[in-house]
Symmetry: C2
Subunit: 248 residues, 2 copies
């Protein structure tokens, strides 16, 4: 990773070269919740946000806006507000979804690892290197599909982070403090905060993700009926909702 | 591109190798609306849908489902229904947004090119090689952020197509015929169609996309104020909403 130049150099600096392939990146970008205690350099942020804003949107209107919070008193206050929500939400979810008992406390299960990661993530939320609040500026009445003009950009953002050796995760922590965040940051009435993304240099690794089998998610001419070709490639990892993971 | 094997071989076939880098793909994936008259091979569809379904979703619930329509009477009826909407919607939009006058009819303007592409796209909509209807199966009451669990997968789908030499575009054509499509395809009451994606081998090319300047889309500690590093890299192309494109 190049050291960042002074900001006024970025206009002359191309975005970084690739070390990860496109398909490889799509199938190995994990939610990253454990970060090394390092700031994200300006040049990396520029590249990530440039890639995010290349995403498609309805009629190319680009109604997405990204608030990027790093250092200083406003960022600290945003992180403090979100940290409170993160800890409350995880506490409730851990209990409701059984992360605090059964396989949730078995040391080597995916569920137990997730429980430990989440506990650490919310306990130290104030220290996440970067919080990004993707927003959407509305140009018509809210509808079910308006997210088609903001969440593709959020996904580009996470993929670009992966491509640059960073990682992040989409959360909904803003929901419970949206009024406070909106006032603090001056989000106008015609816009809403679409998600809370945290970002940093991973303490762990990206790698194959766990999902349901393709045949449960892809249908042909009728709901519920998979086409013949909906077969997972070798090495696919499944969530517990899927078939048992092969012993190999 | 490899020729597709029999479907029962796909379980033993890894997804295709990369020829496009991750960041390169993110910044050069255009909306593709002109397709060569070729079917999309099973193996390519498998790889595209596999990549789509690796996208993140809230709590990894994977509420996304993809209806993939290609050949046969059901697919033909879906395309016929959508074609009618596509032609009506474009006719209205072309007039409202001035595509039928001024720079919309100047041969060499981006607007005139878009008008020609759209006219051709909707006129021959029944011939698009593949129509994909990404759906979302709800597990709670509708809210503003539910799209965070389906549109990242739509973006992965378009990016994977790019990685494999194909291309597509997200549209909202299903909106006006959602009831008919829902009945025809058996979409259950707790699910909704989130978008209409068309897909095929591009007749044109991918390449740099046009967007607003980064400093209009990315803010720091306050809405409307860009950080110093929000500077476009060399060669960035702007929409007409942005600054004039350099002559070089």
């Amino acid at each position: 990773m190049d050291a960042p130049g002074p900001p006024d150099d970025l206009r002359t600096q191309a975005i970084a070269g690739d070390t990860v392939g496109l398909l490889e990146g799509l199938v190995t970008t994990r939610a990253i919740r454990r970060y090394l205690p390092e700031p994200v350099p300006d040049r990396v942020l520029r590249d990530i946000l440039f890639a995010a804003t290349r995403a498609p949107s309805g009629s190319n209107r680009q109604p997405f806006r990204f608030l990027v919070l790093q250092h200083g008193p406003v960022a600290a206050e945003v992180k403090r507000l979100l940290a409170g929500v993160a800890r409350s939400m995880w506490s409730v979810k851990a209990h409701l979804d059984g992360y605090d008992r059964g396989s949730g406390v078995t040391d080597d299960s995916p569920k137990a690892r997730m429980a430990r990661t989440m506990a650490e993530y919310v306990a130290h939320f104030e220290q996440v290197p970067v919080v990004i609040l993707p927003c959407m500026q509305r140009y018509r009445a809210p509808d079910t599909s308006e997210g088609a003009s903001v969440y593709p950009a959020c996904q580009n953002l996470l993929l670009a982070a992966r491509g640059l050796g960073y990682g992040g995760v989409i959360t909904g922590f803003h929901g419970a403090v949206e009024r406070e965040l909106t006032e603090l940051l001056g989000v106008p009435d015609n816009a809403f905060i679409a998600s809370t993304i945290t970002l940093g240099r991973p303490a762990g690794h990206h790698g194959p993700v766990r999902r349901r089998p393709l045949s449960e998610l892809v249908y042909g001419d009728a709901w519920g009926t998979a086409p013949d070709w909906a077969q997972d490639p070798p090495g696919t990892r499944y969530t517990s909702a899927g078939p048992p993971r092969p012993a190999s």
